[in-house]
Amino acid sequence: MKMTQGENVLVTYALGSCIGLCFHDPRLKLGALLHIMLPINMETGRTHPLKYADTGIRETLRQMEAKGAMRSRMTVKIAGGAKMFEIAGGSGLGNIGQRNIESVNAILKRENIRLLGQEVGGKVARTLFFDVGSGQACVRSYGQKDIFF
């Protein structure tokens, strides 16, 4: 998780089934970019809270609130959750991307954070840029035009 204040751009590269979340408090121009890999934290020691949607979102919110961010002003944009490989027969890989999307949506709702935009699903990898000054997010994919949202 990266956090910054002011006119800075945060980047996370090559999101596949992972999800990048851009947290933004426009009044403080405070932004955080979280990169989660799995939907739910089932680690016993919980040594890597930021790797999971549930503990990662809560930890990011905690750190932003410590800097003065307010949930009522805060917005989130998300990107990722793709399915990189299609295994014939369907027996293959659990669709982690889809589970990540569902988990992130459920947790944001529970934490009362407004979801402002999303570029999720499909089967392309995404690099996510987050302009903390303006709150604008941009997704870059292989062989496609950049998408601003």
């Binding site: 590269y13 090559a14 999101l15 596949g16 089934s17 992972c18 890999m37 799995l38 089932m42 680690e43 890597h48 790797k51 793709a82 990189m84 490989f85 299609e86 295994i87 014939a88 027969g89 027996s91 293959g92 890989l93 659990g94 982690i96 089967k123 392309v124 990898a125 995404r126 690099t127 292989y142 062989g143």
Partner: protein
Amino acid sequence: MTIKNYEQMSSLEIDTLREIGSIGTGNAATALSQMLGKEVRITLPEVRIMGYNEAIEWIGGPEAVTAGVLVKMSGDMGGIMLSVQKLELVNIILETMLGKGIQSYEELAELEQSALIEIGNIMISAFVTALSGLAGINVNLTVPAFAVDMQGAILAVPMAEYGGMSDYLMTIGGNFVCDGKEVPSHLMLSPDLRSLNFLLRKLGVSNE
């Protein structure tokens, strides 16, 4: 001792995996050589157990586009096997099999893709056959899946699948030497931990 994550492996256990990696890669090179009808040699393969970020840097950064062939293992050993094909290797395969190489991955049409999938599949199968023969276990493989995209996302697939258990990947990289050119090739074996323990026990190196 039952291993709970890759970091806990002893040097003997890592050496054993390295040996398996060498034999597996050797078989994969032989398979490739037979398929292409020309000599393919390997340089000494490197077996490394590393974190995701380190693995990404090792194969050339997250955003570099690459072709990946993925096969899922089940049976006595569960896990994922991934063959990452860089453009140089892709061109050797395509020039030999189809008589024409490509400048970028965007030129891959159905025929070219199918050739790459088949080569990836044969290399992975040769690797797994060597491994299962050595350990005396049965491993089933799924039909291969194929993707061309940023390699960061491709490598994240085994990480996410087994990420709940470990932050480490086992990667086996070696250079193939073909027509006097040395081209990098990467095969990645990510067994789940239960299977890794089973494998080490079968090979008689787990000090239980």
